[in-house]
């Protein structure tokens, strides 16, 4: 990309005034009847479905309202959000480490990292969650000390690995394997010339990675990471299998007593949608922050600015 300025104003010249009124093309806009027809049909179908759904007495909307802000539901939502944040934090940090190791010149580290990805991506998350939960069955006590030597202190595995830690570990370590591949793709996408330029300035490999390569890779890493976070928010519902009281588990607890399954699942959907919407907004701002200096983004912004004067009707 030799990034030459595209618009006239970037060269410092004022934007063109536009042609004189006599020359200005006043074309009849092209009509799109097909668009109107498909839109009308789809809106009709949508209204029909929503109306039918909303008016259905079996949906028990009163029950939905009753439980939407129930303390046990909100507590479950809080746990879901906590699990998402903790698991993503482990996933992202772990993913960066695994990706960097994967690209390391040390063959042992690179292979180990590949092995990690193979195992954690290759087995079902549900199995991994159960595995962490039942860890105490294989390792009843966890001790800290010199291997094959004295132990300084030890704890009961069941005490250390609670349901919550099992959930965070399971979700986080599984996520790290996926994040590692995302991070690796991002790092790979940064032009080799960037590292060379940084090295030529006397930066060490570590400095180059931290200040030059990683910030540029983030631009590619963030959108799929946003996807992962949204996916994680919903995946946390899997931990009902190890009885962590998150949103879905709480909901199930309620409908196992009052048998109002559908309205309560609707409550869960409302909260999942609210939470993913918040994540969407966050992702949007993060992406904008890390697109700084992106040629395409800058050109788009400039084009938008350049277009305005032409769209204003000239008297």
């Amino acid at each position: 990309m030799s990034g030459r300025p595209v618009t006239a104003e970037a060269d410092g010249t004022a934007p063109a005034k536009g042609p004189a009124d006599g020359d200005r093309i006043r074309a009849v806009p092209l009509r799109h009847p097909g668009r109107w027809v498909t839109s009308a049909v789809l809106i009709f179908v949508l209204v029909f479905l929503v109306q039918g759904w909303a008016a259905n007495p079996r949906m028990q909307w009163a029950t939905v309202g009753e439980f939407l802000f129930a303390p046990v539901v909100l507590e479950g939502l809080r746990t879901t959000l906590l699990l998402t944040v903790a698991a993503m934090a482990i996933g992202i940090a772990g993913g960066v480490v695994v990706a960097v190791l994967r690209m390391s010149a040390n063959p042992v580290l690179a292979r180990l990292s590949a092995f990690y990805i193979w195992v954690f991506r290759g087995t079902p998350l549900l199995v991994q969650l159960l595995f962490w939960y039942f860890l105490s069955a294989i390792v009843p006590v966890i001790g800290f000390g010199v291997p094959w030597g004295p132990t300084f202190f030890q704890v009961d595995t069941n005490r250390l690995i609670t349901q919550m830690t099992a959930a965070v570990l399971g979700l986080g370590l599984h996520e790290a394997a996926y994040m590692a591949e995302i991070v690796r793709a991002g790092l790979d996408s940064v032009d080799e010339g960037q590292s060379e330029a940084a090295h030529a300035l006397g930066m060490t490999r570590r400095q180059t990675l931290r200040r030059i390569v990683l910030p540029q890779a983030l631009r590619l890493i963030i959108p799929p990471t946003g996807n992962q976070a949204i996916s994680m928010l919903k995946t946390t519902s899997l931990v009902f299998a190890i009885a962590v009281p998150e949103l879905l588990t709480s909901i199930q607890g309620i409908y196992s007593r009052n048998f109002q399954q559908v309205p309560l699942l609707a409550v869960a959907c409302v909260w999942y949608l609210v939470a993913t919407s918040v994540l969407n907004v966050g992702q949007h701002y993060l992406e904008r922050r890390f697109r700084r200096g992106d040629g395409r983004a800058t050109a788009q912004r400039r084009r938008r600015q350049a277009v305005t004067p032409f769209e204003e009707p000239q008297s």
Binding site: S2, G3, Q194, A200, G202, M203, G293
Partner: protein
């Protein structure tokens, strides 16, 4: 790293480099004096860019010795054996050697000023404020004082290359390497970059320039080296080599580029 440059700024002795089975450099011997501007010319694939990249150890040499000042580049001779240098030590050697690339390689996520001020802060531990003041001075020196806040994507090729030169100068190098600095530029932008380089040469900077700009080589160069197929074919005063080449290969090359 502020020691005065000895008489010879760069000394290559029998430098060899191969990529796999391809021998790219087959024993390069040459010396660049401090304050000298040496231009390297030759057909593509002759090894001139590779040689330049060996000087700051972007490529490691397979045989011979390469000194910048009194330092052996990339290696250390200890107890009669050659030892590879650690990443940090190589980075330290590179601080005194500026490099300008054919395709600029500005950092796209940083503004022009940040591009220039990044390495002095990160590598030399200068204060941010000081680095920014000096960054603005350097941008002014390459004629881009008003572009400090622009991102590389908002600059023309010629402007990007001038920022790249300022970025290299920010590390106060004693030697500047130019790898075909104008080859990726539109013809009308070549002049502005050559002007900056001319100014640097006039200030006494030691420069090695891989170039196809024969006019620049003749006017600014103190020495000219013609390389072909991994060896130095002919070298000497630019006017002599360009005006009356002795070797057949030099004659053939020059007749094509004119």
């Amino acid at each position: 790293m502020t020691s005065a440059v000895p008489k010879s700024a760069v000394r290559a002795e029998g430098v060899c480099k191969s990529f796999g089975t391809v021998d790219v450099l087959k024993g390069i011997d040459l010396t660049v004096a401090a304050g000298e501007v040496m231009c390297l010319i030759g057909p593509s694939g002759s090894g001139k860019s590779t040689f330049l990249r060996c000087i700051n150890h972007l490529e490691r040499i397979d045989a011979g010795r390469l000194y910048v000042g009194d330092q052996l580049i990339g290696y250390e001779e200890r107890g009669g054996r050659i030892h590879e240098l650690a990443d940090k030590a190589v980075a330290r050697q590179r601080r005194g050697i500026g490099m300008v690339f054919q395709r600029f390689h500005l950092f796209p996520h940083l503004t022009a000023l940040e591009n220039v001020a990044e390495a002095p802060v990160l590598v030399n531990g200068e204060s941010k404020a000081k680095a920014r003041v000096r960054g603005r001075e350097l941008l002014a020196r390459v004629g881009l004082a008003d572009k400090a806040g622009n991102y590389p994507s908002q600059l023309s090729g010629g402007q990007q290359q001038r920022v790249a030169i300022a970025r290299a100068l920010a590390m106060r190098p004693e030697l500047m390497l130019f790898d075909e600095p104008t080859s990726a530029l539109d013809p009308e932008l070549v002049g502005e970059v050559l002007d900056v380089m001319r100014g640097l040469a006039a200030d006494g900077m030691t420069m090695i320039v891989v170039t196809h700009e024969m006019g620049f080589a003749r006017e600014v160069g103190d020495a000219l080296v013609f390389m072909d197929d991994g060896v130095v074919v002919e070298s000497g005063c630019p006017a002599d080599v360009l005006g009356s080449p002795r070797e057949v290969r030099t004659q053939a090359f020059l007749s094509k580029v004119r």
